[in-house]
């Protein structure tokens, strides 16, 4: 799975019948240590109710069809988790909803 931040939404009214009613979120891959965006974007189907700004991880390829929402659908990227905390080398580098003091 790959870590990314929800940076927006993508709306498509004329689309393949099977993917009607599914929410598309715009993700930007992040460097897990610096949490900086890598300028590498993708559109993923939301399977956990992720919100803007949240860090998530997503599955791609056929595994993206292994959720109740995306089963049997032309989906190759599905958000499967909202990240609460990332620890690297013993240091917590990200904590959801933590007040960011810079």
């Amino acid at each position: 799975m790959i870590l990314a931040r929800v940076v927006g939404t993508v709306v498509s009214t004329r689309k393949e019948e099977k993917i009607k009613g599914i929410k598309f979120l715009l993700l930007e891959k992040i460097d897990p240590v610096t949490l900086q965006g890598k300028g590498d974007y993708l559109v993923a189907m939301d399977c956990v109710g992720a919100g803007k700004g949240e860090i998530v991880f997503y599955v791609s390829g056929s595994s993206a069809r292994m959720t109740a929402i995306t089963e049997g659908k032309p989906s190759d990227a599905a958000i499967v988790a909202i990240v609460d905390e990332i620890e690297v080398d013993g240091k917590v580098v990200y904590q959801k909803d933590a007040v960011v003091t810079t």
């Binding site: 799975m1 897990p32 993206a64």
Partner: protein, 99 residues
């Protein structure tokens, strides 16, 4: 498979129903000497890996070919902890020393 080093952990309480439970580790691709380089991945740990260990990562649909991940929304799992790597007749990585 690729070689990767366990560099941290990722905690996620809100997960898709299919993949609750299990320990998610942050790994980074490494070279044959266990030196980190390359992309970071979140991998489901199936073998009790610890930080600093070099592990074997399986990705894509193959990641679902285990008892725990069968038909689950998972595309990256740790399938083994590396003890030794021999390259061109020379041992280039050994578990304890390599940390």
């Amino acid at each position: 498979m690729i070689l990767a080093k366990v560099v941290g952990t990722v905690v996620a309480s809100q997960k898709n129903d299919g993949i609750t439970g299990g320990k998610y580790l942050l790994v980074r691709a490494c070279d044959t000497r266990g030196r980190e380089k390359g992309e970071y991945l979140v991998a489901l740990d199936l073998v009790g890996s610890g930080r600093g260990e070099v592990v074997l990562i399986s990705q894509g649909s193959s990641a679902r070919q285990t008892e725990f991940t069968y038909q689950k929304a998972i595309d990256c799992v740790i399938v083994g902890i590396v003890d030794r790597i021999e390259e061109n007749g020379q041992v280039v990585f050994r578990k304890e020393e390599g940390r």
